[in-house]
């Protein structure tokens, strides 16, 4: 089982390291990366300053395993990686990192989009949006 959940924001150094690890795979011609960044959305006269993520980790890992297997069936991929933050991620920081690699570029965009949508729709992750005034609301995906 590959590790998906990371404590706190996903750093650009972590992303760079993931990219660098693929340089020894000489059949790869195309990578596509999706990064979700926490937005300072307005909520009434307040603003979102951070999101606190929790998950039902055992179920999430089972679901993520199914999603990975289905993606390899559906698309011509050399490898794929999914990372998601738990705990606090501040505005401007990265909370999800989906990384798809393939010999050719044709399918990588669609594969990434499909994976991101699956994670958002099917994986039990919950975001609590923390506002300026320390109140909060539960995030709803659109």
């Amino acid at each position: 089982m590959k590790k998906v959940f990371l404590e706190g924001a996903i750093s650009s150094a972590f992303i760079a390291d993931s990219i660098a690890k693929h340089q020894s795979k000489h059949s790869i011609g195309a990578h596509n990366i999706f990064l979700g960044q926490v937005r300072a959305d307005e909520v009434g006269d307040q603003k979102v300053v951070a999101i606190e993520y929790t998950t039902y980790e055992e179920m999430a890992n089972e679901k993520l395993h199914e999603i990975r297997e289905a993606a390899f069936e559906k698309f011509d991929l050399t490898c794929l990686h999914i990372y998601h933050s738990l705990g606090t991620v501040k505005v401007g920081e990265i909370c999800i990192f989906v990384f798809v690699s393939s010999p050719r570029r044709k399918q990588v965009y669609e594969a990434t989009e499909w994976l991101v949508n699956k994670v958002k729709e099917e994986v039990p992750i919950f975001g609590k949006e923390i506002l300026d005034n320390e109140e909060h609301q539960w995030k709803v995906n659109s």
């Binding site: 993520y53 998950t55 179920m59 958002k120 992750i125 709803v140 995906n141």
Partner: protein, 78 residues
Amino acid sequence: MITINYFGNIAEAAQSDSETLDLKSMSLEDLLELLDSKYGIKKFQFQVAVNRKIISTKQGLSLSDRDEIALLPPFSGG
């Protein structure tokens, strides 16, 4: 013993992430009534997972010893 896991706004209402009920068996319907009387869960939107699979609450499921129930508000990852 049945374990119930709470998430998001339901965990807030229950003031807990998890509890165990010392029951040998119970219908899922009765369990949800019981939890509504304790925490008013019916005012929330949620799905139910039994042993980490989402199930329909309308199928008259009987819970048994060691089942793991979870009340899951709308997912909002990403």
